[in-house]
Amino acid sequence: MKDKLLQDLLLKQQYIFGDNFSDLVMYSIHETSAPIVKHLSWFVSGIAASLLICAAVVYLQDGQLNIDAFLGISSLQNDTLNELSLYL
């Protein structure tokens, strides 16, 4: 086989993927990035559910839902707080 013939045959070795290749790539990119979004949404849902459970428990224990109840100091009187501050 002559060099020139082989060179010509090699030059003909050109290929293309199908017409829908770019769609396939875009779909794959979307698929590979989607799990992060899924994990993120689970993470946010988890935090929201934890806050709701926490609020429900505080409400059931204290019968009210304010910042003191959340901090666990709603049952303390102001005087008690002043006395406690002396030890700080």
């Binding site: 086989m1 050109q14 290929y15 396939l24 875009m26």
Partner: protein
Amino acid sequence: MHVNQSKISDFELIQNAIQGQQYSFSEIVRRYQPLIATTAMGMLGDLDQAQEIGQQVFIRFYKSMNNFRNEAKLSTYLTRITINLCLNHLKRNQNFRNRKLDLVLATNSASSDNFDKDFEEKELINQALQYLSENQRIVIVLRMIQGYSTQETAELLGIPKGTVLSRLKRAMDNLKDILTKHY
């Protein structure tokens, strides 16, 4: 408004894609898929595997395009990714690939009358390429099929120009032997 994407430079397309314009990235894929297809087919000899690698090339580029600098040609950058992924793929599937190649050759020679001449020639060269060592095949694909210069091929592979030339000479001689022996 959609501008005619085919007239936009690679760098502008990348910038637009980074800003979230998906059709700009689609245009990059359309523009460079023949380059990737030809390189991956030359290296792997199987269109399904080449297409799988092609997808990975563009996904990898999509994830790293923020780091792309305009100093390098996009074609060179994508070719480099393709070569690396093909070599990894070949390492993982070496035993399977050797068995499969023998089978394809046997099937092909038995039914060669049914093939269109051009297609048949293309297929024979494609299969003959798979008999070369990876180092020789890469040089043939880049230098003889993709038309990169010796200098560009050397830079892409990170080897001296002299090594490219000697590998090319050996690869062409081997390819001629293989074609004469088998066909």
